[in-house]
């Protein structure tokens, strides 16, 4: 996997709305149709790292009848990073496609 692509995945998934860790891991698994999966041991360290960098922010939320969960949302700085990483990623993919000769869908 390209360096930093895991970060990009997480940032994109919480762009629309805050999500908790389990949700994120399920989404990655579901949307990649099982091709990618994060386990506790790899997902949370990554989340904490992103949080430490100030790109995302975790918050404990309590809902009625449920135990409290920690939801992560994108910070303004995270939004900027996501934008930059996304375009870098797209140009990387485009470059790879040009080289490998597959049509860029």
């Amino acid at each position: 996997m390209k360096k930093g692509s895991a970060e990009l995945l997480i940032l994109s998934l919480i762009e629309a709305r805050p999500r908790h860790g389990y949700e994120i891991s399920k989404l990655i698994e579901a949307r990649s149709a099982g091709a990618l999966s994060f386990h506790v041991a790899s997902l949370y360290p990554l989340l904490y790292r992103l949080e430490k960098r100030g790109w995302i922010k975790g918050q404990w939320v309590e809902k009625a009848g449920q135990r409290r969960r920690r939801y992560y949302k994108l910070t303004p700085e995270g939004k900027k990073t996501l934008k930059a990483q996304r375009s870098a990623w797209e140009s990387f993919v485009a470059a790879i496609s040009r080289i490998t000769g597959t049509e860029h869908a």
Binding site: G21, Y22, H39, V40, Y44, P45, Y48, R49, R70
Partner: protein
């Protein structure tokens, strides 16, 4: 309630986090695990399964802790190291490593090509020799449990697996250790199949249990059985080989039941052997097997009834659980009654008794097949294997040097990676991956080279006295060997540079900037040691090649006693032509006249035994009138020759006369002696007119003395030899010798016409030149000399390139120093002398190391040499001189470059 938090806290313990932070993480993770657990349950898993699935999320405790440590520690290092978490799985970053290695190799195409080519030559040479060695020495026979097979051999000087029928019976009936003892005997069978020209095929008489003891089952039909092999009522049956079945019958199953006339005895084909089985002898093939009991029908007088005639090859299968030593002891117990005593009974005199005491029995494993070829080639092949191994070692040393140099220029890259937190092990792995990739490229090219090489080697072997039929297609064994070899070489040349590179001093490396990394004296020392080793090994190979080349030259210049050039040898086979002996005599006389009349033929003659063909005849000879004591009665080589035989071969007549047309079966018997015989029997007295008793009561008169010539083979001491007139014997020989005025091959068509005219229908068994017959004796020496000189040349070249490379690099590094020296007044000559002195040092060190090694290793080649010893001073001195010259030539260019350094440029260098 499941206690996830305990599990998680347990895994976080080593981090020593703040309690509040730890609680927070534990709560979040346990929530995750709880979600996973509930989901699993919802999907229908049992609580236990769900619990396990959730825990699996934590992976190893180590991974979680390590990943978290990075984030949670106060100053998080940001690893940009390739494949940073590889400790979890060994092969995690392998693909990445490979890709990176490929990129690095493509970045330096020059280096890659040189390195891969060096390796291809080194590995290719090893694979080729291994393939040959495998085919000759290592491959197992395609029989059941080949490891149980043993062959007995009688040792009297050399070891022979040939025994008489009587010895075979004795052993077979009385041994305790074998579950079966089988006998076979090779014979060239004269075969006639309906609708095809008569031909001679490689045949074998075998005992009835031959195939069942070996465990060889037929491809079609059946094999020979004990029921076929009864002497009182033998079954006239034959089993043919897969090859013969294809060649003669086009794989037609209807071949079964066909009649094949073998030596005038009609046999019925009852089976075809499996394709992979072509007899017990490596390097030769059998096409037709017949029951041993048919031998008395085909061969008269029969060998079976001839007491003491040793014509059987024996192979035993040890009973399960019996060791080789036990089998040896068991057979040895029977050795005297079975072999020695019957043998002694046939001989007389104290000399025979004494000889009998020296006879020993040797029992060897036979699972790899019986092979005179193995006897002949095991030593040369072992020597060649060592030679190619040394070549590969030199190649490795060279590559190690190249890599050291490269590691120096890549020092910055390595230092940056180390500074960014790459582990040393990780870095070594990366560098070794590159070496491995290089090795594999080299190995692939090497296998291709080996394929051609082995074929070519086989062609040389096939020109020998016994055609060698081997399969040298590189098989899976050879490929495994090559793969192992390439991994080994990669470690050999890659490890030291990788270790060295990864130990670099970061600060220094980064400070030096883009120019590269100076590893200081230790790198220099290492690369110099490698050069010294290369020179030492090259010298060993050079000395070896010198010894083998001189052996070949010595063999070529042996005085055989005859002139080998321009002589054609033609063998006629009167045995199945229907000619009566008297008729053959007349026809051959007429044929000789006819051949001598051919333009371009100087003279022609014939003999019973052709010269240096490896076989001969002997008779007991004594002087007439003297009591046949042990000294006077001797076993002497004899040959039956026609008039002009000596003239045709170029053997000088020293005294008396040649045989002539007046020597007829009815005239008094005449003999001619060689000089050695004349001296041994008559001393200084004139032998002409003396009378000699040949055999028991055949008295003949000495009419001439001829010069000594080789009888059996090229490498032999001249022995007393007696010549009788072939036209005075009951049946004349069929070995024609024809001396041409020019190329003997040019007269072949005319000779064939004469044969057709005078002895129509008689088979021409063999046509070759005397020169090729002589050369066939030294095939092995030619092979070893050729290969060892090629390989030592290659080794020397590689070493020279290495020397050149290292010196060039040294000179480049020292440009500044040289500049200062020159600025201070040093002359170009002084600079050059300085560099050359350094070379001379290295070379002398290498030579000082190489000479004793060459002397030690040379001892193993002693019995492959002829006419010189392994310590031959001339060869060693020549080797030293050649090495010195080549090394100085290789060093001259860099030295010259150094002497031309412009002080101004050099000082601005930095």
């Amino acid at each position: 309630m499941l206690e996830w938090k305990t599990e998680i806290r347990h895994r976080l313990a080593s981090l020593e986090l703040e309690p509040s932070r730890e609680a927070e993480i534990a709560e979040e993770l346990s929530q995750h695990l709880m979600d996973r657990y509930t989901e699993s349950l919802a999907c229908g898993a049992t609580p236990e399964e769900a619990y396990r699935a959730a825990l699996a999320e934590l992976d190893s405790a180590e991974l979680l802790a390590r990943e978290l440590r990075r984030v949670e520690s106060s100053a998080p290092p940001e690893p940009v190291v390739l494949g940073s978490n590889w400790r979890g799985d060994m092969f995690g970053g392998l693909w990445q490593d490979l890709r990176f290695a490929t990129r690095m190799l493509l970045k330096n195409p020059g280096f890659t090509v040189v390195a891969a080519l060096t390796l291809a030559l080194g590995i290719g040479a090893n694979t080729a020799i291994f393939t040959l060695m495998d085919a000759v020495l290592l491959k197992r026979l395609p029989v059941k449990q080949p490891e149980q097979l043993v062959e007995p051999m009688m040792v009297s000087g050399k070891a022979y697996n040939s025994f008489s029928w009587q010895a075979f019976q004795h052993w077979r009936q009385r041994n305790q250790s074998l579950s079966g003892l089988i006998a076979s005997s090779n014979s060239r069978f004269y075969c006639v199949v309906e609708g095809a020209a008569p031909e001679r095929v490689a045949g074998q008489y075998v005992t009835g249990d031959f195939f069942s003891v070996l465990g060889v089952s037929p491809a079609i039909g059946r094999m020979i059985t004990p029921g076929d092999d009864r002497f009182e009522a033998p079954n006239a049956v034959a089993v043919i080989s897969d090859g013969y079945w294809s060649r003669r019958f086009g794989r037609d199953p209807a071949a079964l039941g066909k009649r094949i006339v073998v030596e005038d005895v009609p046999l019925t084909i009852v089976g075809v052997a499996p394709a992979e089985f072509s007899g017990l002898q490596v390097g030769s093939r059998v096409d037709l097997w017949a029951p041993l009991a048919t031998e008395p029908l085909m061969h008269r007088p029969s060998f079976t009834s001839s007491a003491g005639y040793k014509w059987l090859q024996l192979v035993g299968r040890m009973k399960p659980g019996i060791s080789l030593d036990q089998a040896r002891a068991d057979l040895d117990l029977l050795f005297r009654p079975a072999v020695v005593e019957p043998e002694l009974a046939l001989q007389t005199g104290p000399e025979a008794e004494r000889r009998g005491l020296d006879w020993r029995l040797k029992v060897e494993p036979a699972g790899n097949g019986l092979s005179p070829l193995r006897e002949q080639f095991s030593k040369p092949l072992a020597v060649l294997m060592v030679i190619v191994g040394l070549v590969l070692l030199i190649a490795c040393a060279n590559l190690a040097n190249l890599l050291l140099t490269r590691a120096a220029t890549r020092g910055r890259e390595i230092a940056v990676r180390l500074a960014l937190g790459a582990g040393r092990a990780r870095l070594i792995r990366q560098l070794l991956t590159e070496s491995l990739l290089l090795s594999l490229i080299g190995a692939a090219a090497g296998v291709l080279l080996a394929n051609f090489g082995a074929q070519y080697l086989l062609e040389i072997l096939e020109s020998g006295r016994t055609p060698v039929l081997l399969d040298v297609q590189p098989d899976s064994r050879a490929l495994v060997f090559t793969a192992l070899l390439s991994v080994l070489t990669a470690l050999l040349y890659g490890l030291a540079p990788a270790l060295r590179a990864s130990r670099s001093d970061l600060i220094a490396a980064l400070k030096v900037g883009g120019r590269g990394l100076e590893f200081g004296g230790s790198r220099q020392r290492l690369s110099r040691s490698l050069i010294v080793a290369q020179i030492a090994i090259s010298l060993i190979l050079l000395v070896g090649a010198g010894l083998f080349l001189r052996t070949l030259r010595n063999l070529h210049s042996i005085d055989l006693g005859f002139e080998r050039e321009n002589v054609l040898l033609v063998t006629l086979d009167p045995s199945h032509s229907g000619y009566a002996p008297e008729q053959t005599r007349h026809s051959f006389l007429a044929l000789l006249d006819g051949i001598q009349a051919i333009p371009g033929v100087r003279s022609a003659s014939l003999s019973w035994n052709p010269p240096v063909a490896g076989g001969g005849s002997s008779r007991t000879v004594s002087l007439e009138g003297r009591a046949p004591g042990p000294e006077a009665k001797r076993e002497i080589y004899v040959n039956w020759v026609a008039p002009r035989y000596f003239e045709t071969l170029g053997v000088p007549l020293m005294a008396g006369r040649d045989f002539g047309s007046h020597d007829t079966p009815t005239s008094p018997g005449a003999v001619i002696l060689n000089q050695t015989m004349a001296r041994v029997f008559f001393g200084d007295a004139n032998p002409i007119g003396q009378r000699i008793r040949v055999g028991d009561n055949d008295i003949r008169e000495v009419v001439g003395v001829v010069g000594d010539s080789h009888y059996l083979e090229v490498r032999e001491q001249i022995t007393p030899t007696l010549y009788l007139n072939t036209f005075q014997s009951p049946a004349p020989g069929g070995e024609f010798a024809i001396r041409a005025t020019g190329d003997p091959n040019a007269v072949i068509p005319a000779v064939r016409r004469e044969i057709e005219r005078h002895v129509k229908g008689m088979a021409i068994a063999n046509v070759r030149t005397l020169a090729s017959q002589v050369d066939a004796w030294i095939v092995q020496e030619r092979l070893v000399a050729l290969l060892s000189s090629c390989f030592s040349g290659l080794a020397m070249f590689i070493a020279a390139v290495g020397l050149y490379g290292v010196l060039s690099y040294t000179v480049a590094r020292r440009t500044q120093e040289i500049g200062i020296r020159m600025a201070l007044g040093a002359q170009p000559r002084d600079v050059m002398a300085m560099i050359l002195k350094e070379i001379t040092w290295l070379v002398c060190l290498g030579l000082a190391l190489g000479v004793p090694l060459a002397l030690i290793l040379g001892r193993f080649t002693a019995d492959l040499l002829y006419g010189l010893t392994p310590t031959d001073p001339l060869t060693i001195v020549a080797g030293i001189l050649v090495m010195l010259t080549v090394a100085l030539l290789a060093g001259y260019v860099p030295a010259r470059r150094a002497s031309r350094v412009d002080p101004m440029v050099a000082l601005r260098h930095e």
